[in-house]
């Protein structure tokens, strides 16, 4: 891997050249070196993409630029001058605006209030100016926002627009976007790409973090790859121009993982589907509400060895379906049958005991308990069960050993199993939750966005495991917003829109045609034959 580091490098950077320079920056956290002696230059007029596996230190780097953290070693330079960014205010004053990996809006405030947040308390909000400037943004970037809506009631995509709008309103010189596309639909991501292009054309610098390598290639002018806190390599504009997408991705993968990515990711899994119906759902309905989607007439079947994909734009009832299946959400009408047992009124624990598993997509909110050590989190769903408990008494050694095994097996980056799980990077938390669900004797597993936030290598490993589960004769429901993932894994794909099933399609490996049909259904078009009544 040392050989790789010699490719097209402009290290050490020339401090005079960029808007921001990072000079031998290092940042420690208890038990980890998050950023290790990194030097980078951010140039005006460029989209600078940061890539790296989970926990590579990308968000930490962003944190330092945003004034949330200061480097333990090394220094930052602004326009060639050594500078300190000791607080978010300092960072904002330096013209750096950041859209963080996790939403940084106040959900109970209106959009307008979120846009002006940070203004002095004694001032009266100046609405006219903001409206005028929003008008300009709408012209230039097609950003349009309902100013008086309560932020928390808007979709995630709209919320992300608010953050971007806020960054633009500030007249920044540098805009940072940390995994801004992870919650967006493919079209949304494209729009964002176009916006970034406009921004750099007007002379700004953009730092863009993503796990999607093709996005990196298409949107980025310069790509830097982080690996375990170190800068593993960089592809400059000249070099990128000479590479095709596939070549570029190959090189990035080399930098990130030091090996080939191993075959096209869209390759289809060998099916293992049988005739035995494991899960039978008939006419399932749930109550909707102001901010939750209700489910209507959901009927579906999952057979042993089958992977049933569920596609749809985020927020169209997929999560509610998963919760209703897991027993976490009350069912208004309909029936759920698990291997010929009606479980409609069974609670979460009972369903779990009968072999129904559910991997949530809300890893911090409900998947884990941030303050608890990793060890406790690995057995959170088996409290009281042997071998970790005997007659209700905890056996700490067993639990710790189990946690260590899981950490090793899933390559979780953590000092040890006593670390509070909340301190891990998003991707590493996901690995632990995945491991937890695959433990024991599952019959049907519901995966909700299992690979969201994971790096390429882990995505691959996780997909492999999901395939293995199906191959072992279990039933799998795979909810995903990533069509590639569904097309690679699923036997059939259900498309949800507005809390209903819009259609069920066999995954015939139909490539672009299938993709197009799914896309239409996602947008609310009914399938001609209305197959699933």
């Amino acid at each position: 891997m040392s050989g790789l580091a010699t490719q097209e490098m402009d290290l050490p950077p020339d401090p005079g050249a960029g808007v921001i320079g990072l000079n031998n920056v290092t940042k420690h956290f208890p038990g980890v070196i998050a950023v290790d002696n990194v030097s980078l230059t951010i140039h005006a007029g460029e989209v600078h993409v940061l890539l790296g596996e989970n926990g590579a230190g990308k968000s930490t780097l962003v944190g330092m630029l945003a004034g949330l953290q200061e480097p333990d070693d090394g220094f930052l330079a602004l326009a060639g001058n050594r500078a300190r960014l000791a607080s978010p205010v300092a960072s904002l004053d330096a013209g750096i605006s950041t859209v963080f990996q996790h939403s940084m809006l106040v959900p109970t405030l209106t959009v307008f209030e979120n846009l002006i947040l940070g203004a002095p308390w004694y001032k009266r909000p100046n609405r006219a100016t903001i409206e005028q400037r929003m008008g300009a943004l709408q012209r230039d970037f097609a950003l349009s926002l309902p100013l008086d809506a309560i932020t928390g009631e808007l979709s995630l995509g709209q919320q992300q627009q608010i953050e971007i709008a806020r960054a633009l309103l500030r007249d920044s010189r540098v805009v940072i976007l940390d995994e801004a596309t992870s919650m967006l639909t493919p079209q949304g991501a494209e729009e964002l790409g176009a916006r970034m292009r406009k921004l750099v054309q007007s002379g700004l610098a953009v730092i863009f973090i993503t796990h999607k390598l093709s996005e990196a290639y298409r949107f980025g002018d310069r790509i830097s790859v982080l690996k375990q806190g170190r800068l593993a390599g960089q592809l400059g504009p000249e070099r990128l121009a000479t590479l095709s997408e596939d070549q570029a991705i190959d090189e990035i993968v080399q930098l990130m993982f030091g090996r080939d990515s191993g075959g096209g990711d869209a390759e289809r899994r060998q099916t293992s589907c049988t005739d035995e119906v494991l899960l039978d759902v008939v006419g399932l309905e749930t109550e909707g509400g102001a901010d939750v989607m209700g489910l209507h007439a959901i009927s579906l079947q999952v057979r042993a060895g089958e992977i049933l994909g569920i596609a749809g734009i985020d927020g169209n009832g997929q999560k509610q379906l998963a919760e209703a299946l897991a027993g976490q959400r009350p069912v208004a009408r309909g029936r759920v049958q698990l291997q010929n047992n009606t479980v409609t009124s069974a609670n979460v624990a009972e369903r779990r005991r009968m072999g129904l598993r559910y991997l949530t997509d809300d890893r911090l909110g409900e998947g884990s308990i941030g303050a608890f050590p990793i060890s406790d989190n690995t057995v959170l769903k088996d409290v009281g069960e042997p071998p970790f408990w005997l007659r209700g008494i905890e056996r700490p050694a067993q639990i710790a050993q189990h946690a260590r095994d899981l950490i090793q097996h899933f390559q979780v980056r953590t000092p040890n199993e006593t670390t509070p799980i909340g301190r891990l990077s998003g991707g590493n938390i996901q690995k632990i939750l995945l491991g937890r669900e695959l433990l024991g004797n599952a019959r049907v597993v519901v995966f909700n966005k299992p690979t969201y936030g994971l790096d390429l290598q882990n995505i691959e490993a996780s997909r492999q495991r999901i395939g293995e589960i199906a191959a072992a004769g279990k039933g799998v429901i795979l909810i995903s917003t990533d069509l590639d993932e569904l097309m690679a894994l699923a036997d059939r794909i259900i498309v949800m829109e507005g809390g209903r099933i819009r259609g069920t399609l066999d995954n015939d490996g139909g490539g672009e045609a299938l993709r197009l049909r799914i896309g239409r259904l996602m947008a609310g078009e009914e399938l001609e034959q209305k197959a699933t009544a």
Binding site: H28, A349, G367, I369, G370, A371, K381, V383, E394, P420
Partner: protein
């Protein structure tokens, strides 16, 4: 740092203790003794400001509360209700429930014990009288928490406000009960019937120490083990730390929340019974020792740890007993112990912060 953790979770506390164990003994001693010393110095300054010789005062407290046989007996007796309250609060706080209503639960437990036990003497064997008193007190205490419990479990209403309200209400209700319902017709003073000395909790050996002490110790240790070593305890802690995660893991959050309230308030009721059946023998109208709020800082300083709580309760009781004596000899009102506890809390908090900072620097 344990005192810095948020309102929802108390988890870091135990992690913290584990971390502490791994640090050199000298440092731990410094970090504990330093703030304690500072607190005593701070309080001494206050004493000097009002013209009292602090050395004399402190040595007096030690002598009266700790180093005299009689004082030690009184200290031990005073511990019993405080220990039950510690048990009550350890359950609640570790499960993320801020039960600030222990005073009301305590008093109503006391009143029911005082109302029933004297009537049962002679009807039931002595031990059964006491048992009935304790059981009823636990039930009544738990009953008094049922509204906050339901509101929190099923409506998500913050329990700080509801338990506080129920506490105010309970204190008044206890006095109504004493004045109007359980009045001893034989006395002119409004109070309940009195449980004869011979029928109270037996004393230990040849001393005046009430055996309530033993039961209190058992309660705290049992609760500590339950919360840290059992599946049930972990479930309660899960509910406290992240109810969404608990529900996701298949726990019935509402039921477990109800259980926390019932257990915590039940122990508060037992505290009341231990005071009545062990020491006081009856409840007078408008009696309210207000131990509940007082124990909160102690439990917190103990970082929700049972053994540490016992040690702190011991020293606090000694201080109470000693200061009663000092009040008489040196003319310092007993309320001064409150100043001492507050200074301790502040100094230990600052100490923890400094420790936290030092460890951050080291890394």
């Amino acid at each position: 740092m344990s005192m810095a953790d948020d309102i929802e979770t108390s988890e870091t506390a135990s992690v913290q203790v584990a971390v502490m164990r791994r640090r050199p003994a000298l440092r731990v001693a410094m970090l504990t003794l330093g703030p304690i010393l500072a607190a005593f110095v701070l309080s001494a300054v206050i004493l000097m400001l009002v013209g009292v010789d602090p050395l004399k005062y402190y040595s007096y407290i030690l002598q009266r509360g700790l180093f005299s046989g009689l004082g030690l007996e009184q200290t031990a007796t005073r511990m019993a209700p405080l220990l039950f309250l510690c048990a009550s609060l350890i359950i609640a706080f570790r499960a993320g429930i801020w039960n600030l209503g222990t005073d009301g639960q305590f008093l109503l437990g006391a009143v029911i014990a005082a109302a029933t036990a004297p009537l049962l003497v002679g009807v039931l064997p002595g031990w059964l009288v006491l048992l009935v008193g304790f059981v009823l007190a636990a039930l009544v205490g738990a009953l008094w928490s049922i509204l906050p419990a339901l509101l929190r479990a099923y409506h998500g209403v913050n329990e700080i406000i509801t338990t506080l309200m129920m506490s105010f209400l309970g204190v008044l209700f206890a006095s109504v009960l004493v004045k109007l319902v359980f009045l001893d017709p034989a006395t002119t003073v409004p109070q309940t019937r009195t449980l004869p000395v011979a029928d109270r909790l037996p004393r230990l050996f040849d001393t005046s120490i009430s055996s309530g002490l033993i039961w209190g110790l058992i309660a705290v240790i049992a609760v500590h083990l339950m919360m840290t070593r059992t599946a049930f305890g972990l479930r309660l802690r899960m509910v406290g730390a992240n109810p969404h995660a608990a529900a996701h893991a298949g726990l019935s959050v509402p039921l477990l929340t109800m259980a926390v309230f019932a257990l915590s308030a039940g122990f508060a009721g037992l505290a009341g019974a231990s005071e009545i059946l062990g020491v006081a023998g009856n409840v007078r109208a408008d009696w309210n020792p207000a131990y509940g709020l007082m124990v909160i800082p102690l439990v917190f300083l103990a970082r929700f740890h049972g053994i540490a709580a016992i040690i702190l309760v011991f020293f606090y009781s000694a201080m109470l007993i000693g200061s009663e004596s000092a009040a008489r000899r040196l003319g310092v009102p007993q309320d001064f112990t409150l100043v001492l506890v507050a200074s301790l809390l502040i100094c230990l908090g600052l100490g923890e912060y400094i420790d936290h900072r030092m460890r951050q620097k080291e890394q």
